[in-house]
Amino acid sequence: MSAAETVLRIASWISFFYFVILSLVYLTFTIVAWKRLAAHRRARQYSPLDELFASPFTPPVSVILPAYNESTGIVSSVTSLLDLRYPRNEVIVVNDGSTDATLEALRDAFDLRPVREALRTRIPTAPVRATYVSRRHPNLWVLDKENGGKSDALNAGINASTYAYVCAVDADAVLEEDALLLVVKPVVDDPELVAAVGGIVRIANGCRIEAGRLVKFGLPRSNLARFQVIEYFRAFLIGRLAFDSINSVLIISGAFGLFSREHVEAVGGYARDTVGEDIELVTRLHRYLRDRGEAYRIKFVPDPVCWTEVPEQLAMLSRQRRRWQRGLGETLWRHRRMILNPRAGSVGMVTMPYFLLFEFFGAIVQLIGIPVVVLAWAIGVLSASFFLAFLVVSVLLSMLLSLAAVLLEEYAVRRHEGPREIALVVVYGLLESFGYRQLVAYFAFRGFIDLVRGRHDWGEMERRGLERSAEAPLPRQVSSP
């Protein structure tokens, strides 16, 4: 056997075992998630939200909405936040140096008046130019600041917040009416332990949204977005629930997450020098709390709390995934001492190694592994039975586990109307392994290259806008600094 054949054979075996372990991990995650979802379903019978809403012990929350060039959708986003079913909350919109008419739109819609607000400066931010309060809604504040990026805007919002819990919300996100109640519930149950809570973010493309509220659920019409529906099920419903069971949730989506202000201030707020500010903050919180030996929980609730738009064009998807990959890489590198460090507990011993092996390097294995095995089989280095076993493990099992994610979603939060929609989701779950996954792996690989090259920008993100009926799209351009 030549050296090249030996290399091919070794690479094939590595790929095979990578997919075996990955399948085993996903199978375990699925079973854990199912168990958690079943318990969560039953718990709804003895812990209804109505009583939480009526209780004076439900903590007040400051909702922070960073906005950059969101003039088209900002009014409906803020209106939906003001309409949240929650006993006591304030909404702080941070206009992060928008170059469009975001501030004017807010001024006109909410009758804003300038106020010389006293602001904390515990977390350094770009200068705040002016502060406004709404005459119609005394709990609505608007901060107009110089551009500093999303993290900087969130930090300014935290500085301006009144309450002990802050909730970061994306300007283009659509929240469920009970979203705040749902994420606050773990805090009410364990106020001394819970440092942060996240919930399920779902895809809004194809849904009918009116006045900042989702009024009719629907599947996206774009193929690309439909594949992402499956991906989101797997990530949110299975992955995060499984990590929640060992208190090592590493990602609370930037689109919607609740944090104890005290803890966020203690770690210095959102990092401004990363594009993965959400995963970085949660990782830093884990690190801080574990270093101090404090008992804590970072929770994930398996309720859909937030709906967001996903890219429907390849270029946009590519930018998003490259950015995600960079953000993940930056966070793993920044907190590398936690990886396989027993002092970091389950976060260091389970979650971070998982993210490193299967989320960060997974793209490379997926891109290289499959062609290598095909080549090895084609030139006779590998037997047909090995090749068949590899296909089963790398493709068929992925398909079936995607199906399991769809079924779990159907089991837990049934939103699909009729068997046609369910059948469509199942079909896309089956097709995902033939092209889409490889495409996403390719984008992630490019993100890896970006990281190596030291790229730091966010890139342009074009959104069509959510405030529209599913049939009548309204174009909108949004870019993040």
Partner: protein, 336 residues
């Protein structure tokens, strides 16, 4: 080796296949169950309304499933109704299978069954039958069951449960929010017990008791909260200042004014807010000073207190060049 690989993949396929089949079966069963419940609910709703309104409501012809659904519907109504309707719901459950079933389920092996039963008992308006089993459930090994039991004892307004709920609260066997809400449901009946535990050795218990007194108490309890202003624990002093703001009447304003000089900033902030609520003009000079010079929280609270007590004074002091951001903010908010 190849055979081992094939075997491994077969095992995987079987495991995942089984998982999928089970999930499909569960989904179908759940969907069918929910459909049946919806249909049954449609049928029993007129019966439930008739029962609540005291217009009879014939239940003898209902199937076991319909009886269970009727119990759920009546439980939901019980959460929203009081008075005669409550009594009629209680009368229905007194003889109903649902009550006996819930009492039996309190001893079920599965936690969620016990918790659900404890929760449902709170909506059945039968305190005589449910009190003892629910009190026993406060000692359940699972927190969820204990929380549901505490909530139900509050819902049933079992005054004798005040002490056990407070003890569960003290021992952290029930979340503060749930125990607090249950004690709130007991209302003024819980005051004597809250007054007693306001002297508990654990400062967090004292703080909770004082907070609750602020919510359910009246001017007769202000001396307890007033005394707590001198508590060694800052959390208790903060709770006392807050409670006095809620109770609203307090003869010893001097104690509250003294709290403006507390060494903990959050106690000063709460005292300032309360002085604003109870409209204490004697505190104005010190409040203005705090608003100008203190840390963020007390300064903001003091400025807003000045705005409440004497808006004209606020406008004039905020016009001074050295007024500081908090007085400026309060003056601007006043103008808005």
């Amino acid at each position: 080796m190849a055979e081992a690989l094939v075997l491994l993949t077969e095992v995987f396929l079987v495991a995942v296949g089984l998982l999928l089949v089970t999930l499909v079966w569960r989904r179908v069963a759940l969907g069918r169950g929910e459909r049946r419940v919806r249909e049954a609910e449609r049928r029993v709703r007129p019966v439930a309304i008739a029962l609540v309104e005291g217009e009879g409501g014939e239940t003898t012809g209902l199937s076991a499933r319909e009886q269970a659904v009727l119990a759920d519907v009546l439980g939901r109504y019980a959460r929203k109704l009081t008075g005669d309707a409550d009594a009629r719901i209680g009368a229905y459950f007194h003889d109903a299978h649902a009550l006996r079933s819930a009492l039996r389920e309190l001893h079920a092996r599965r936690m969620w069954r016990r918790a659900t039963a404890a929760y449902r008992l709170g909506d059945m308006c039968c305190p005589d039958e449910a009190t003892q089993p629910l009190l026993a459930a406060l000692d359940d090994s699972r927190r969820e069951v204990r929380a549901a039991a505490a909530r139900s004892l509050g819902r049933l307004r079992v005054v004798s449960a005040a002490l056990p709920i407070v003890e569960a609260l003290v021992q952290r066997r029930v979340p503060n929010g749930i125990a607090g809400q249950a004690l709130l449901e007991l209302g003024t009946d819980a005051r004597p017990e809250l007054g007693r535990i306001a002297g508990h050795e654990d400062p967090s218990v004292r703080a909770t008791a004082i907070t609750l007194l602020g919510l359910v108490g009246d001017s007769g309890d202000s001396h307890i909260a007033g005394a707590a202003l001198r508590d060694p624990s800052a959390d208790v002093r903060r709770a006392a200042a807050e409670a006095l703001g809620r109770i609203g009447t307090f003869s010893d304003e001097g104690a509250l004014r003294a709290a403006l000089d507390d060494r903990m900033h959050f106690v000063r902030a709460e005292a300032a807010a309360t002085l604003g609520v109870i409209d204490a003009p004697e505190a104005l000079p010190r409040l203005v000073e705090i608003a100008r010079t203190d840390r963020f929280r007390p300064a903001r609270a003091a400025a807003r207190a000045v705005a409440r007590i004497d808006p004209k004074l606020l406008t004039s002091v905020a016009a001074a060049p050295d007024a500081g951001p908090h007085l400026h903010e309060a003056a601007d908010l006043l103008a808005v």
